[in-house]
């Protein structure tokens, strides 16, 4: 077996950058939700400010992929890895944008009344952050079963989003003073639900990376009892 050391080094560097970006996106979700939970405006502002660094990392990784394609002519599995990386960084960048959106809403929510336990938003946030984490784990370990599990988890996330939506509507109906904050919280919920969708996209791309097949949401294999979530 010939080792293509230059190609493999470039792939390793790209993988490392991608995982760094993944952890920054995950961290942005956590910090945005923490800022929301305790009303920490400085923390919210830092999430907004840090988003530029994540955007820069995305362009840096795209540049790495451009160079890799131009100089190494990757084929088959190598080519899928580069193409997948380009998709993943785009999704991660958008995930970080959604976190930034939550941080901006936190600034708007300053000094407004809030429903108790934020109508279940922290639980939804934990679920979507976990989906992002598991999709990235599936990428690292090339684990399609885990990727499929992330895809299946999206239904539960959608249901929780629906429940939060209805709860917030009830808060608005019960107390006109809640109209503005509950509207902002609806937007927070929407941002989280979109992060869940993007985690699903990450997982689908991992399946493509491993199998070469683009999966349709509907054509995923039935849940394996050992991995069902």
């Amino acid at each position: 077996m010939i080792r293509r050391s230059s190609l493999e080094r470039q792939l390793r560097e790209t993988r490392a950058s991608l995982l760094e970006m993944g952890s920054l996106a995950e961290r942005a979700i956590s910090r945005a939700m923490q800022a929301l939970a305790v009303g920490d405006l400085a923390l919210a502002q830092s999430v907004i400010d840090d988003d530029q660094g994540i955007n820069r990392l995305r362009y840096q990784i795209e540049g790495q992929c451009d160079v890799l394609i131009a100089t190494q002519q990757p084929m088959a599995g190598d080519l899928r890895e580069v193409v997948t990386t380009l998709s993943l960084v785009s999704e991660l960048e958008r995930i970080a944008d959604h976190a930034k959106g939550i941080a901006r809403l936190t600034l708007r929510l300053d000094r407004l009344p809030r429903p108790t336990d934020l109508a279940g938003l922290p639980t939804l946030a934990d679920e979507v952050r976990q989906s992002v984490r598991r999709a990235l784990d599936a990428y690292v370990t090339r684990d399609t079963e885990l990727a499929y599990a992330v895809v299946r988890q999206d239904d539960a996330i959608d249901h929780r989003y629906q429940a939060i939506f209805e709860a917030l509507i009830q808060f608005m109906a019960a107390d006109p003073a809640m109209l503005t904050p509950a509207t902002y919280l609806l937007w927070v919920a929407h941002n989280l639900e979109r992060i869940g969708d993007r985690a699903t996209n990450l997982a689908e791309r991992v399946v493509f990376l491993v199998t070469g097949k683009l999966m349709e949401r509907e054509s995923q294999p039935a849940a394996n009892p050992s991995t069902a979530v």
Binding site: M1, I2, R3, R4, L7, Q73, P74, M75, A76, G77, D78, L79, R80, T211, G212, K213
Partner: protein, 275 residues
Amino acid sequence: MSLAKPMVAERLERPVSSRGHSMQIRGLSAYYGAKKAVDGITMDIPANHITALIGPSGCGKSTVIRCLNRMHEVVRGARAEGEVLLDGENIYGPGIDPVQVRRLIGMVFQKPNPFPMMSVYDNVIAGLKLNGRLDKREADAIVERSLRQAALWDEVKDKLQASGAALSGGQQQRLCIARTLAVEPEVILMDEPASALDPISTLKIEDLMQELRERYTIVVVTHNMQQAARVSDFTAFMLAGDDRVGRLVEVGPTDEMFTRPTEKRTEDYITGRFG
């Protein structure tokens, strides 16, 4: 339909629109003396498509392509077993004239090989002259048509009487393609047709192959995987085992072969990790 002499004229007279000739290789093995070089190749070559044969040096891809028009047996002691069908007829069948096979299944070689003492014009009709006399008007028409099909006409129309050897390497190769086209083949075999050419000439040959595919069935041997990926519709990967006998590993649509090959050995080769 017979490949014996009387039928050839009938084939060649068929209008272009009714063309579209496929080949099938069935259990083809090739030998040089007692040494087996290629073992049990079975694959289809669809009409009006480009099929690329790829594989490392010594895998037998050039031997296979030479078996497709009975050029292999020209080497002393060389022979082939199995069947190669052109439109269902075995070109190795009894009574088949190899000369006629080679007229219907033309070949372009790695190094441009125009006849050095002949003009551009005479080079194009050299194959037809061997097959009998041509009147001037007919010859003029064939020369122009062949050179146009080979995308060379505009470059040489004012110097048809110049020596073929005076052309650039890329032009010489297109002249050889024109020479092959002049006899109206059904299938064109190309053995590393661009490996001796510079990148611009190579791209011209590749463009030309795309145009020729409309009229002809093409098989190309190339060690340049990027070229196979660029030009072909189907790709066959061959590999020689420890016994140094070449075998077909995998054949499939080029898009799939270069993005998600089925066989690990194919993946290793096209990702450059074979060794």
